[in-house]
């Protein structure tokens, strides 16, 4: 309730093109903490005041509803967003996918995905070209640069261009470091890339940075836990994984990843009762 009041106060004094950013960041923090209810509430109020806010705000709201298992609300939010941004590829694509998952015969899903494919081609090569163009237009905007470089890096990685992927991830990280609020999700992509490259030490340096900027970011805790376990430091690994579990909120994938790690680590340590507790959670929540 306090958050909502602060938000309303802020809305009355809105000024400048990026006035919404602190509210978006607050909502993202709620999401990272697993408080999706509060994130959805805050973003709904924000968007009811100004529907023309950037697509990212709408996308975050859709994420919040999805995390609450409310695909219906996410789809509604998507349709409202498309009214405000009819040519946004990511909005068209995300809304199309949500509708498609709800009903694979929904013609509206097909229509949105078709439009998205025109605006946002799916193939990594085309994505790279599109993102490069966007990058050229976004000089000086670190938030955009960070996002675009991350997308570029992921596309390059998919195509097996490890060097180009590395370069783009490094640029994204540089841009991320210049932001007022470090984005741990983008950095996590880089960490997982480095781990796949068998470069755990470098990955851990970035994990350290993530935890410095966003100590409540569960996936970074789990990355740290995996590393510690590989080093044979299982007790410390368990402590990190328990933190990851606490921070997972109601995100079922993060919860499962933490439970799976804890089950196998306790088992490896011979603590079978604890291990089975986590195994049971997975079995009970398995879809």
């Amino acid at each position: 309730m306090i958050a909502v009041s602060v938000l309303l106060l802020a809305l009355t004094g809105q000024a400048g093109p990026a006035w919404h950013e602190p509210h978006l960041l607050a909502a993202k923090n709620y999401l990272a903490r697993g408080d999706s209810d509060r994130a959805a509430e805050a973003l709904e109020i924000l968007l009811s005041a100004e529907a023309g806010l950037p697509p990212e705000v709408h996308l975050t709201l859709m994420d919040a509803w999805l995390k609450l298992d409310r695909a219906d609300k996410a789809a509604d939010a998507g349709e409202r967003a498309i009214k405000a941004h009819p040519k946004s590829g990511p909005l068209l694509k995300r809304t199309g996918h949500i509708l498609f998952r709800r009903s694979y015969t929904n013609p509206r899903a097909g229509e949105l995905l078709e439009n998205a494919s025109r605006i946002l081609p799916q193939d990594p090569e085309a994505a790279i070209e599109a993102e490069r163009r966007a990058l050229a237009l976004s000089a000086g905007n670190d938030a955009a640069r960070m996002q675009i470089c991350t997308v570029l890096a992921i596309a390059h990685d998919k195509l097996g261009h490890a060097k180009q992927a590395e370069q783009a991830f490094a640029e994204a990280l540089d841009a991320n470091r210049r932001l007022r609020s470090f984005d741990p999700n983008a950095a996590l992509e880089y960490v997982q890339f480095l781990v796949r490259q068998s470069r755990e030490q470098e990955a851990q340096r970035i994990v350290g940075e993530m935890l410095h900027h966003a100590p409540q970011f569960g996936p970074a805790r789990l990355e740290r836990a995996k590393y510690l376990s590989a080093q044979g430091e299982n007790e410390k690994a368990i402590s990190e994984a328990l933190s990851a579990l606490d921070l997972a909120g109601d995100d079922p994938l993060q919860q499962r990843a933490a439970h799976a790690f804890l089950a196998r680590t306790y088992f490896a340590l011979g603590q079978e009762e604890e291990a089975q507790k986590h195994q049971r959670w997975i079995e009970e929540h398995q879809k």
């Binding site: 694979y104 799916q122 193939d123 068998s198 755990e200 799976a260 196998r264 088992f267 490896a268 089975q276």
Partner: protein, 556 residues
């Protein structure tokens, strides 16, 4: 001036190119696809439709085995059927048996053998289930499975009904079986049958799936999974369904690959099942006729990030010569292909640390294997690759056809992708599916046969140049099952190096490989000691065994 510039440029280019040529490492693993010289005309026909029925993309199976006991490995290919009837109403849908003539060619003996099969097939599992010395096989398929008994005279008989292994589930009725495998779970001397079931599917109720208005095969999430089945061999040609009694039937997944090994070294064979977009199963054999599912505790249920992957082909063999069978799973683009290293009672995920993640993040594969292709004493990894969607160019802008992949074991815990150096015919992209392994030309180098949708299979003869030595151990059980499946073999080389492998035909996806157990011996011309631990518990030791031979060992 222009001439001078051109000459200078040419010189610079030459200087750039020259050192690369000199430093390029020699190829270590080389394959040559010789199918055009074999006389094999089989082409896998999945009756592709506009409607995109799920069964079309899943078909894969083949077997490499010696059905006529002439010492030459023969080939069996599983095929599709007319949709929607699911009937083999045209010869183009027949399964095909090819006899190895021993001269690099094969003869189609399907009709004489009576093994064209029925219905829309999927996988095949080979073993001598009745211990008569002749290899039989079981077919996994859509709504129907079949058991063919080898009569020993070049012909087989369909004994499915008599044996009681139609694969009818007590509650679900007809099932969709993808893979099957033979192993002796109770160490009673005859082989039992495990069947991996996929999802509830019927042509009448199958959903229509489209991506951006383009028809596509549905995600596995569109279907309910099915439990697997276990049939105990009664020793009299019949089987008893022990799925419930054994605990196997309690677990519902979306079964794809099956592999067997005694991972905890307790003398009882355990089962690993890969599932499609669902956690994998590791059934630990408790030795009392029941199994405990321990994949989560053992650390093999998910990938490194705790995610369920689209698990497909698997193999369950020791890759690091520590005497403990490890697990290799192939999957879908973005999943990486997990490599789980056995620590005795649990596993360590070595996918990233070994370099396998880096090599496999961008590919999808169906079949797989852990085989020492260059006979250097370290088993390598193999994956038969292709996208799941046959129209993935349209949908994902990614190729539907991919070349296979071979990752060489560097012997230091790492693997290197050597596919690009594995020969020009190896780099050919196709809709690869199942892969089976065996030494088709008995030269000591293990060959690979891969099914390809809509075309002839690839018959990859292994032409790896290293002059390394080898052994193929052909087991003949007496107290144990006749094939010796489940037997564990340690080979000690001069200098004390120990190699480890075990007997299993269940390798990859829907496929069955040669039962003989292969060892690459490196430069060793003799094995100081070969120790065989049979499923019966008998321990047999041979000493001073010469390399480069097929060694038949009778249990005693």
């Amino acid at each position: 001036m222009r001439l001078i510039t051109a000459a200078a440029l040419a010189l610079v280019l030459a200087l750039c190119v020259w050192p690369q040529k000199r430093t390029a490492p020699p190829p270590t693993i080389v394959f040559d696809n010789v199918v055009e010289r074999t006389g094999i005309s089989f082409a896998l026909d999945n009756c592709v439709t506009e409607r995109k029925h799920q069964i079309e993309t899943m078909i894969a199976g083949l077997a490499v085995f010696d059905y006529d006991n002439d010492g030459q490995l023969d080939l069996y290919f599983v095929n599709g059927a007319q949709i929607p009837q699911l009937a083999k109403n045209d010869p183009r849908y027949y399964n095909r048996l090819y006899r190895n003539n021993g001269d690099g060619t094969f003869t189609d003996t399907t009709e004489q053998a009576g093994v064209r099969g029925e219905g829309f097939g999927m996988g095949v599992a080979v073993a001598d289930y009745d211990n008569d010395g002749w290899q039989d096989f079981y077919l996994a398929g859509v709504n129907r499975n079949q058991l063919f008994h080898n009569n020993g005279n070049g012909a087989f008989s369909d004994v499915t009904e008599k044996a009681g292994v139609q694969g009818l589930h007590s509650k679900l009725g007809k099932t969709w079986a993808i893979s099957a495998g033979w192993f002796d779970y109770d160490n009673d001397g005859d082989l039992d049958l495990f069947v991996a079931n996929y999802v509830n599917w019927s042509i009448e109720t199958e959903p229509v799936c489209k991506v951006e208005n383009i028809p596509a095969y549905c995600s596995p999430n569109s279907y309910e999974g099915q439990p697997n089945m276990l049939f105990r061999n009664n020793g009299d040609g019949t089987f008893t369904d022990v799925s419930e009694a054994s605990g196997i039937g309690k677990y519902t997944g979306k079964g794809m690959g099956i592999a067997f090994a005694d991972y905890d070294n307790d003398g009882f064979t355990d089962i690993f099942v890969s599932n499609d977009t669902y956690r994998h199963f590791l059934f630990r054999n408790k030795g009392n006729g029941t199994f405990a599912e321990t994949a989560i505790l053992s650390g093999v249920a998910y990938n490194e990030n705790g995610k369920s992957i689209a698990g497909m082909g698997i193999d369950f063999r020791d890759v690091n010569n520590d005497g403990r069978p490890d697990i290799f799973v192939v999957a879908m683009i973005g999943d990486t292909f997990p490599l789980f290293l056995n620590r005795g009672r649990d596993f360590r995920d070595a996918t990233s640390a070994s370099g396998v993640a880096k090599a496999t993040i961008g590919v999808t594969a169906w079949g797989s294997g852990i085989v020492d292709f260059d006979n250097d004493g370290f088993k390598d990894l193999f994956a038969s690759c292709a996208a799941i969607l046959d129209n993935s160019e349209q949908i994902d802008r990614l190729p539907a056809e991919l070349p296979p992949m071979v990752l060489r074991n560097l012997g230091n815990g790492g693997f290197s992708d050597v596919s690009a150096q594995a020969g020009p015919t190896f780099r050919v992209a196709a809709r690869h599916r199942g892969v089976a392994f065996g030494d088709l030309d008995n030269d000591g180098r293990i060959d690979a046969v891969i099914t390809r949708q809509h075309e002839k299979p690839a018959v990859f003869l292994n032409r790896s140049p290293a002059p390394n030595h080898w052994l193929l151990v052909n087991l003949a059980g007496t107290k144990s099952n006749r094939d010796g499946l489940g037997a564990r073999i340690h080979v000690t080389l001069p200098g004390g190096r120990v190699l480890y492998n075990h007997a299993s035909t269940s390798v990859g996806y829907s496929a069955s490989s040669d039962k003989r157990v292969h060892f690459g011996l490196g430069s060793a011309e003799v094995a100081d000691k070969i120790e065989i631990l049979w499923p019966s518990g008998i321990r047999q030791t041979l000493t001073g065994v010469k390399a480069d031979q097929v060694l038949t060992v009778r249990e005693q």
